[in-house]
Symmetry: C2
């Protein structure tokens, strides 16, 4: 399974990054290969200063070795060896009307002293962070997420949509990071789902990514915007930074397992503002976004 | 002691904020009073878009009540009541040749069920974060710190300078946040130092703050700078954000005790950049700063 899923993310990185380059039309991805001293490494691809993408990364990594002491409590195990591989992407567009997107699909194995697999699971998801909210974009994104889920289990969309709303939440602000999507973790073999079936589900979601995001980019990339709208985008990007550095378990896992710092923190936006006690005008589009982020919404139009 | 120290920080907030307003000449502090639902509150004073200070805060707070469950393990206690008060300041200047400064002086009490004090201590310190390093500024800052310490104990400066270098360290970058200063915590009554003597020490340090920082501001505020130097400042401010959100225990304490979020996060810089894998030119002034931040330096000139 680990070879099969790793091959999948290698191919997916290629197809996603070449599609994004064609969309951008100006910037191309810079590739950095890196090795982890304790085992494994990754292939980081970062795009900067494009016409569409101000900054973004589409990274894969496959790391292995002894599970760091700092992570043992996290997984509720004692000394163990692990393998983890995945694709992580974050895209921060220039235009404040184009949302930021994040996605991650990953696979874990844990081993006993003899090297037997004692545990294995998939995790992942994708979520959208708009600066200005077009309801139809949120509906489109969730529709694609739901279609991918529905092919595998009738409950998956509702379950993983709810988990996404819970996870990408800035509890210190009592505010969602964005309008959600899917989040799943510890997807293990059960009577209902074999690892093979989980693989089919996770790769279905991965394959759906470009369809969930690209139509939104194409629709909004040419909208003209003002400096005020750009400022609002930079202020909201500050909330993105707060989530990633204070709450995000993926960032924490990377920092604690001695991952490559520049590959982990590629998720941070290029230009960010923090203004003291900023509040948009009541009734403005900015204010409407905040209202929606207070309470997760159902985005499926029946 | 708590009334006495609280009165001290009220007065110190007034003297520091009025001096900083005179230095800035353009912006003035906006004051916000806030209450903590579980007990206590604070007086936040923030300055923005000044001629000298792009953003800064000089805040006091005094909070009390039941120690939140999330903080019990941190202090190694079970259910307890607490009182905490302190002054926190952070100043982010416009000009990249003027360093950012942070200071905090605080006092804690813990109580048993009958309301008797079972533990009490002071903590605090001040540290400097330059974007361009003038050795004489670092020397001046540390000289004032040392003079304040030396009046109270011959070992304090060396001890608390070392603790500062340890504490304000971005371990994920293997790099100090800045060029240090003083950091002390859990300063409790002992055979050598009564609480009264600790009070005298902490207030001596607090009183020395303006002398440690203002001469540096006056010396550098009129230096002209380029967009490149400004960009470097914004990139380095990103490291400041990383420290405060990933490592800083004061920020964590504030978030976990339901402090006022805008008062806690006033420490975040106004404009920040994250550029993927940025490295300054070998031998440049920017590169020299990074070299110094790799290894804490002795700044006392004998």
């Amino acid at each position: 399974m680990k070879e099969k899923f790793y091959k999948y993310i290698v191919d997916l990185q290629n197809s996603i990054s070449s599609k994004l380059e064609r969309i951008d039309g100006k910037a191309s991805f810079q590739e950095d290969l890196w090795e982890r001293p304790e085992g494994g490494g990754g292939k980081t691809r970062v795009i900067e200063n494009g016409d569409v993408f101000e900054k973004g990364g589409v990274n894969i990594s496959a790391v292995h070795g002894a599970l760091p002491t700092s992570m043992q409590a996290y997984f509720g195990v004692e000394e163990a060896d692990f393998f983890a591989c995945g694709l992580s992407l974050v895209l921060h567009p220039v235009n404040p009307f184009v949302p930021t997107v994040h996605a991650n699909w990953r696979y874990f194995e844990m081993y006993d002293k003899e090297g037997n697999i004692v545990d294995q699971w998939f995790g992942g998801g994708q979520d959208l962070t708009p600066y200005y909210l077009f309801d139809e974009d949120a509906q489109h994104f969730h529709k694609i997420c739901k279609e991918a889920c529905d092919k595998h289990h009738p409950d998956f969309y509702a379950t993983y949509k709810a988990k996404c709303d819970q996870y990408f939440y800035n509890s210190h602000r009592q505010e969602a990071r964005g309008i959600g999507g899917l989040f799943f973790d510890y997807c293990k073999a059960s009577e209902e789902m074999s690892m093979e079936q989980w693989y089919n589900f996770v790769t279905e979601v991965g394959d759906s990514f470009l369809n969930s995001y690209v139509p939104i980019v194409e629709k909004r990339r040419m909208l003209s915007y003002s400096q005020n709208e750009r400022n609002w985008q930079e202020i909201r990007r500050g909330r993105y930074v707060e989530f990633n550095l204070v709450h995000d378990k993926g960032t924490l896992f990377g920092l604690k397992t001695n991952g490559r710092i520049e590959s982990i923190l590629m998720s941070l936006p290029p230009k960010v503002q923090w203004i003291y006690d900023h509040h948009p005008k009541k009734g403005s589009e900015e204010d409407r976004l905040l209202d929606v982020l207070k309470d997760p919404k159902d985005w499926i139009v029946s």
